[in-house]
């Protein structure tokens, strides 16, 4: 409930409209309360007195009431929908912008699917509640109070008798809301499990087939599938109890009115019209009382939705441009790590410890070391994707924590290990960092990244849509588009996660050439897996367990005979084999050559 109250702020801008809507609602309810009274007077007065004019007047009155309440209804419904749509629009905007400002630390731990469903589903349920359900709830309250007053004023005894079955009805339906909510939660859980099973089965289809495990998988799926059935049956059983019972309680009320009211009429203490009117009021109340279940449900959903939405909105973006931030000028490209330590949330051991390194402009720095040694963590600190927990990261002597984030990141180009492209044209993807780039600039970047040729190979060239709904690019192609994207930024500092792993040799050479262009005249950090890249670096940092264990040039480190030497030698095994073989071939081919001459 607290979470629902927090929606106040969301509704604030539309307070005027909400108040107007409330008044309209009051009007509609009042009008609908009049109708049974008109019918009653028709029966008691019109029919009793035998006046046709009275009948005409009543008929016209009913018609008039119908028309006025129709107009009011129209206004009410549209206003409600309008408020709902506006609230949804505002919330989605807030969520969207907030999410894209939340730091990496947040996104590392959150499931993207959940985040998306919060923006869509949860906002929807809040919308529905704010628009329709609240109004319905208010209408029900007003209506109930109105009916109570009218009935009690008319005949206290009959009113009490007629309303008696309404008490269990309201109690039951409101209790039903929470009960069914829990049951539906179980259904959702079960469906989630089915979907997990399915996802795993489809993603791992090759493994399933390779090990001929179809039967086993079918069994596992069946367990999950049965659970869905079972949880649904629980829901149904509740439904099958509540639905007929509410209908029955309403009928019981009608019967009670007929019996007790009828006897009062016979005794002469009540009119027939009053009996009819009582019955009409009960029927009038029955509908919203039954809808109460849905309302309670909607309220519960909205409360849960609001909780989840606010959970996101309440998360402070820890990494933000500080108040009196420095707007960075064009960088020279000097980078310094001063006593840097980094410990991620929820982790016991530090990912980086005591990092001290000073890099001059335009140097190429290669980072090598085992998986998990802290290479990626180190480079992520430069564009301030994470904040250091100790020490400082300085760019041209500016602490990255004190500068304007956009002015910093605009000057840093990043090519990530997995090159994520957006479902848009290739052109838009290359221009992602600079949407205002000209076509010439885009083509130049693509050429430099060795991507132009294959792009022109598509029928639509640069307008080709890539991604999920467009052309599928190969790993190597994606990587080259990502390089072009970074190149177009003309960054002063370049960060490369050099993984050209799953591409064939020709492509690899193309990418290598593209990277060479990219690195020219910039400070470059390369997370390298390949010795050929490392050898070229001005400075090699060998990392292990979050520390820099060795540093220097290729030759220096080889002489040192430490971890670098070890890695180098392991990779050299293949080279040695290669050199040996080449020697053999040369010998044999020269032999062949000699033979031919003779």
């Amino acid at each position: 409930m607290i979470h629902l109250l927090r929606l106040r702020t969301t509704l604030q801008p539309y307070l005027g409209k909400i108040l107007v809507n409330l008044f309209i609602l009051l009007g509609i309810t009042a009008l609908s309360l009049v109708v049974p009274r008109v019918i009653r007077s028709v029966i008691d007065d019109g029919l009793a007195r035998g006046e046709t004019t009275y009948l005409i007047r009543s008929a016209l009155l009913l018609l008039g009431l119908g028309l006025v309440s129709a107009v009011l209804n129209l206004c009410n419904r549209y206003l409600s929908e309008w408020i709902a749509a506006r609230v949804g629009y505002d919330l989605r905007n807030r969520m969207y912008d907030h999410i894209q400002h939340l730091p990496f630390t947040y996104h590392d731990h959150v499931q993207s699917g959940q985040l998306i469903s919060r923006c869509i589903e949860d906002v929807r349920s809040i919308e529905r509640f704010a628009g329709g359900s609240v109004a319905e709830l208010i209408r029900f309250v007003i209506l109930t109070i109105g009916i109570l007053i009218i009935m009690l004023a008319d005949n206290v005894r009959l009113a009490v008798i007629a309303l008696l079955p309404m008490v269990p009805l309201i109690l039951m339906t409101s209790g039903f809301g929470t009960k069914i909510g829990k049951l539906f939660f179980a259904v959702d859980q079960a469906i989630g499990e089915v979907s997990n099973r399915l996802q795993e089965n489809v993603v791992g289809v090759q493994v399933v087939r390779a090990f001929a495990r179809e039967k086993y998988e079918i069994q596992r799926f069946d367990t999950a599938n049965k659970e869905v059935f079972r949880t649904w049956v629980h829901v149904i059983d509740e439904w099958s109890k509540i639905m007929p019972t509410t209908n029955w309680l309403i009928t019981v009320s009608t019967i009670l009115i007929l019996w007790f009211g009828g006897r009062m009429v016979i005794d002469g203490t009540l009119t027939v019209g009053a009996v009819v009117a009582f019955n009409a009021y009960i029927l009038m109340m029955a509908e919203p009382a039954q809808a109460l279940t849905g309302l309670v449900n909607a309220g519960g959903e909205a409360a849960a939705g609001a909780q989840r939405v606010f959970e996101v909105l309440d998360t402070k973006p820890e990494i933000n441009t500080p108040k009196h931030a420095v707007l960075l000028p064009t960088l020279r490209g000097e980078v310094e790590f001063r006593n840097v330590g980094l410990k991620y949330q929820n982790e016991h051991t530090a990912s980086l410890e005591g990092i001290n390194v000073h890099i001059q402009p335009n140097q190429i720095v290669a980072l090598i070391g085992p998986t998990g040694s802290g290479k990626t963590s180190l480079v992520n600190l430069i564009p301030r994707f994470y904040d250091v927990t100790e020490g400082q990261v300085l760019v041209d002597d500016y602490d990255v924590c004190h500068v304007d984030l956009v002015s910093l990141r605009r000057q840093i180009g990043i090519v990530l290990q997995t090159s994520l492209l957006f479902s848009d044209t290739i052109k838009a993807n290359i221009a992602y960092g600079r949407p205002d780039a000209t076509m010439d600039e885009i083509i130049a970047a693509a050429k430099a990244a060795q991507a132009h040729t294959f792009i022109m190979g598509f029928p639509n060239g640069y307008e080709t849509i890539v991604g999920e709904r467009g052309v599928t690019l190969s790993g190597g192609q994606r990587q080259r588009v990502a390089i072009a994207r970074a190149l177009l930024m003309n960054p002063r500092i370049l960060i490369l996660d050099d993984s050209t792993s799953s591409v064939d040799t020709q492509t690899e050479k193309l990418i290598q050439a593209a990277l060479d262009t990219l690195m020219e005249g910039r400070t470059t950090f390369v997370i390298a897996h390949r010795l050929s890249t490392v050898r070229r670096a001005d400075l090699i940092l060998v990392m292990d367990k979050g520390r820099i264990v060795e540093r220097g040039t290729h030759e220096e480190l080889l002489k040192l005979g430490g971890l670098y030497r070890e890695i180098h030698d392991l990779q050299l095994v293949d080279h040695a084999v290669f050199a040996e073989e080449m020697e053999k071939i040369e010998k044999s081919s020269s032999l062949a050559h000699t033979k031919e001459t003779f």
Binding site: V42, I56, A59, G66, S69, A70, N73, R77, S80, E81, Y89, R92, Y96, D97, I99, L102, C119, I120, I191, V194, N196, L198, E200, N201, V202, V203, V205, Q206, R209, F211, I218, V228, F229, W232, I236, D237, W239, S240, M243, W248, T251, T254, I255, W259, V272, V276, T371, R409, G433, S474, R485, M489, S499, T505, Q506, I567, L570, D574, M582, S589
Partner: protein
């Protein structure tokens, strides 16, 4: 009306969604209901009883007023009230069973549909999975079956119920008074017209709303999934204004358009109801005065008007649901009717224990939806126990060769033989149980490390699991994990490194002790130390069986018994390392340029 247009792929998919009623689809879906005909019949009878009881309500009111109250006879009134009470009792009981039976049938049908889909998915060939993304499969089985639930429980049942209610009310009214009934019915054509107009407008609007939702969804999803790139390129402001002014604005405007139409409909119905009531009050009232009807009849009519309009209104809504479920139903049937490309022959034999001789005889292959040959006239003979290295560029056809060997596809022409037996003559299960496969991206299932190794052979003992892990050098890191062999790996093995996942999948393959082993050897993003371990594990894995290795590492290639060079779906060269080098052909070239760093 909005001037924003979402991208074509969004609107197109929504147009495809709006199919309208399709009898073929309905028939296809009704197939699933067939086994439950008996229950359906019973609940139909119950439904008729419930409707009759509900319709009799106003009639009891009439009787009470005319016969009991009007004639001032308490005993008659008592009888009527008691009778009404009994009818209400019958109604609650039958209603209870009707809901129960009906919804259980519904859930049974859905269970059956899901089972049928999953079973079918287990048989579909792998080329199906190239066309269908994971997301699409899940949408079929979860969302589309969800709409099917609505089709059964909300649309079909509710339509029958409403029709019965309308019919019952009409009969009741006609039997009470013909003239008054006809007057009331005069409003019905107007009602139908209003409903019809509303539905057409609403449908167009809702289609746009759905498009807006899926557009918002996809834009959001992309931004969330790519949030690191968004931040790296400082695109937040640009993306936000795009979202606010286009995507989300479109959402808002389409919702408001839909709201306009929707909010007009109910008041129109209310007005028509008011007209009908006014007519009955005036004309009925005059009739009462003229003593051609009783006051009770008049009151019953006022009550019946409500009972007539409610189901009509409801019906229009249900019909919409029915239509929107059609597309979902069609997609379900489409999946269920997707032909199974690789299936066991009727007289398929169990594959006898494999010795390991493999022969490709003139094998060509292309995918069913694309006539370009992926493999073209492959002839290959491998002796039992040999190690074969497949070499060639990406897309040359290496993977397709091993997929044909595991019979993930059948050759378009030619045949693949193991120990001289054509693979098409044996059951897939008996063949694959004797084969092992380690894929480039090792896939681990949700579950513990142990369960993942056990996947190779479910009945293996703990000792065997540990022995397999030790043999491939995985034991040391596994015992170092938080719960050792009982450590659960998250889906896809995200918590383990690539190298560790690969070692686990090696242990899995070793435990299965396959006679033929297929290995997509890629240790790309693994650090050098792990690579060393993997290298040793490979040696253990490859001994004593026929092995096909899609090789990337020089040491594997050079030590292979046979190297097969594939280019454009053809075998260009085959032989040992030295033979091929001496030839100075494509292998020689690859060797000089490609394998070098």
């Amino acid at each position: 009306m909005t001037r924003i247009t979402p991208p074509a792929f969004i609107t197109q998919s929504e147009e495809a969604y709006d199919k309208g009623y399709d009898p073929k689809v309905a028939r296809g879906l009704l197939q699933f209901v067939k086994p439950y005909t008996r229950q359906m019949f019973i609940s139909l009878i119950f439904m008729i009883i419930v409707t009759a009881a509900a319709v009799s309500g106003p009639y009891f009111v009439k009787l009470a007023i005319d016969e009991g109250i009007g004639k001032r006879d308490v005993s008659v009134l008592r009888n009527i009230v008691v009778a009404y009470f009994i009818v209400a009792g019958v109604q609650i009981v039958t209603n209870f069973y009707r809901v129960r039976i009906m919804s259980r049938v519904g859930q049974h049908v859905l269970y059956d549909v899901r089972t049928a889909m999953f079973d079918h998915l287990q048989k579909l060939s792998l080329s199906f999975y190239n066309r269908y993304s994971v997301g699409r499969v899940i949408t079929r089985v979860i969302n589309d079956v969800g709409t099917l639930r609505e089709f059964i429980t909300w649309a079909v049942l509710a339509i029958v119920r409403n029709l019965l209610a309308i019919l019952g009310t009409l009969i009741a009214m006609l039997s009470l008074n013909l003239r008054l009934s006809l007057i009331t019915f005069a409003v019905i054509p107007l009602m139908v017209l209003a409903t019809y107009l509303y539905r057409n407008m609403a449908r167009r609007n809702y289609r746009k709303v759905r498009a807006a939702v899926s557009w918002t969804n996809s834009v959001l999803a992309e931004n969330v999934n790519g949030v690191r790139v968004v931040q790296a390129f400082s695109r937040q402001a640009y993306n936000f204004s795009n979202f606010k002014d286009y995507v989300n604005r479109y959402f808002l405007e389409t919702s408001l358009d839909a709201a306009k139409v929707a909010s007009a409909f109910t008041p129109v119905v209310d007005v028509l109801g008011a007209i009908a009531t006014a007519l009955v009050v005036y004309l009925g009232g005059t009739a009462v005065l003229g003593e051609s009807i009783t006051a009770g009849v008049l009151i019953a009519f006022v009550l019946y008007i409500d009972r007539l309009f409610d189901p009509i209104r409801d019906l229009s809504r249900r019909f919409d649901t029915l239509q929107s479920t059609m597309a979902g139903g069609e997609r379900i049937l489409e999946l269920l009717n997707t032909p199974i490309e690789v299936r066991d022959a009727e007289d398929a034999l169990e594959m006898p224990p494999i010795v390991g001789e493999v022969r490709f005889e003139n094998v060509s292959f292309h995918y069913s939806d694309d006539p370009t040959l992926v493999l073209d006239g492959i002839n290959l003979h491998v002796d039992a126990g040999q190690i074969v290295a497949l070499v060639g560029e990406t897309g040359a056809g290496k993977t397709t060769i091993v997929k044909l060997l595991a019979r993930f596809h059948d050759p378009t022409s030619g045949c693949v033989r193991v120990d001289g037996i054509d693979l098409r003559r044996v059951t897939q299960g008996s063949l694959r149980r004797q084969m092992g496969m380690v894929l480039q991206d090792p896939f681990l299932f949700n579950g513990t490390v142990k369960e993942n190794i056990l996947f190779g052979r479910l009945d293996a003992t703990d000792e065997e699991v540990i022995a397999a892990a030790k043999a491939v050098g995985a034991h040391d890191f596994i015992v170092g994990l938080k719960n050792g062999y009982e450590t659960s790996v998250e889906e896809g093995g995200a918590t383990l490194s690539v190298g560790q996942r690969q070692l686990i999948s090696f242990a899995r393959a070793l435990l299965a002790d396959p006679r033929i082993l297929i290995l997509d050897e890629a240790t790309s993003s693994v650090d050098t130390q792990t690579e060393q371990i993997i290298q040793r594990a490979l040696a253990t894995l490859l001994t004593r069986r026929t092995s096909f290795v899609i090789a990337h590492r020089l040491s594997t290639i050079t030590t292979a018994d046979k190297i097969v060079v594939i280019h454009d779906g053809k075998i260009i060269e085959q032989g040992t390392h030295n033979e091929l080098l001496a030839k100075q052909g494509m292998y020689y070239e690859l060797y000089q340029t490609g394998f070098r760093e």
